[in-house]
């Protein structure tokens, strides 16, 4: 009986080990902006006056709506889809429920070189990254946000279930604090500072395999 139990245990371990697939899991992460800045205005006497403002993801989505004509302002989340072992976006979408509006072309992510602390299954990375959001390619009345920030990214390898299949993937937090500029095609709108975040990754089914 004991021998039988041992064999059962070995078989179970072998089966569960084999079912952890060596595939690149695709993840999606919530992209959020929380920025404050100043724009130029003037007082009643015509003297220059800097007026503060804030810009969040809602404002970014509103700009997308103005530029593309697509209705993307109510209940829409900006999601970045990428492979779990890279930050490079495969696709960026404005998502409501199951319907996606692809906005990849409006964003550019440039990742700087990083220094890191690697503790085996956990790591922390520090780098200067650049994020650009521009609607000028689709709307001459659009705007451009050029943002550069100091990024702290933490990564940890975990095993999660994708349906019934356990998949090993890298969970991350990505937080960039910095500053940038808002511009129209022919003029400056104002300097901004704040945070751009990528939320914790959520596994999505992916056809990509090694």
């Amino acid at each position: 009986m004991k021998k039988f139990s041992k064999w059962c245990l070995c078989l179970a371990v072998a089966l569960s080990g084999a079912s952890i697939q060596l595939q690149a899991a695709q993840t999606e992460r919530l992209l959020t902006f929380a920025l404050t800045g100043f724009r130029q205005d003037e007082d009643a006497l015509g003297n220059p006056k800097a007026i503060p403002f804030r810009a969040s993801t809602r404002d970014v989505l509103e700009e997308i709506e103005l530029a593309t004509g697509a209705s993307v302002t109510n209940g829409i989340l900006l999601m970045v889809e990428s492979l779990d072992d890279t930050n490079a976006p495969i696709q960026i979408v404005a998502r409501k429920g199951t319907s996606d509006f692809i906005v990849t072309d409006l964003f550019t992510f440039t990742y700087g070189e990083a220094v890191s602390t690697d503790l085996g299954t956990r790591g922390t990375f520090y780098a200067i990254d650049q994020i650009e959001f521009s609607t000028l390619n689709v709307d001459t009345n659009g705007l451009t946000l050029q943002f550069q920030g100091f990024t702290k990214e933490t990564q940890a390898t975990v095993t999660k279930r994708l349906g019934t299949t356990p998949v090993e993937f890298v969970t991350k937090t990505f937080n960039t604090i910095g500053n940038g500029e808002l511009r129209f095609i022919d003029s400056f709108f104002g300097p901004v500072k704040g945070t751009v975040k990528l939320g914790a990754p959520k596994l999505v089914p992916s056809p990509a395999t090694f």
Partner: protein, 174 residues
């Protein structure tokens, strides 16, 4: 070896007792609350009362601490989804979560409040900031208030196209 089984039984029994008697924690908070009100000098009464209220809330909500991590993830997901909407029910969901006992839920709710962008959240945030003991959390709440007080990019629209101040480049204004 003889004692192993009885000792284990005692530990299990104690574990069951403490799990099924969360009220005892609330009673302790209640005693703190009574003590705060019985302060004869009245000095620092307001601060103590606030801190006790926070403790009580946390203990009462904390009785749900057997919630699984997946459930916390699901709740955070609901909060994130609500942050993109603009209806009163979503606002209610987010502001209720601001008072949750679990820090990860409160953190998600604070970020959602910023993204939701309603100035109606400011009085609620001020009230929470007044009762929050954690300095870091308090600063984050105050930052959120400062953020929400500003006009949004969409609100200020596009006042002028050529709106930069040339004085910055050409020379400082006198």
């Amino acid at each position: 070896m003889k004692f192993v089984v009885p000792v284990l039984l005692v530990i299990i029994a104690l574990g069951i007792y403490f799990l099924t008697h969360p009220a005892s924690k609330t009673d302790k908070a209640g005693a703190d609350y009574d003590q705060a009100f019985s302060n004869p000098s009245g000095v620092g009464l307001r601060i103590e009362t606030n801190s006790v209220r926070m403790k009580r809330t946390k203990v009462e909500l904390g009785s749900n601490s057997n919630i699984k991590p997946e459930e916390i993830d699901q709740q955070i997901e609901r909060i994130i989804e609500a942050s993109a909407k603009a209806d009163p029910a979503s606002f209610q969901l987010i502001t209720t979560a601001l008072k949750d006992a679990r820090p990860e839920i409160r953190k998600a709710a604070l970020e959602a409040t910023i993204q939701f962008g309603s100035r109606d959240a400011i009085p609620i945030l001020k009230e929470i900031a007044a009762t929050t003991e954690d300095v870091r959390e308090k600063v984050e709440i105050l930052d959120a208030i400062e953020f929400l007080e500003l006009p949004s990019l969409s609100e200020i629209k596009r006042p002028r196209r050529t709106n930069s101040n040339p004085a910055r480049v050409e020379g400082s204004p006198k």
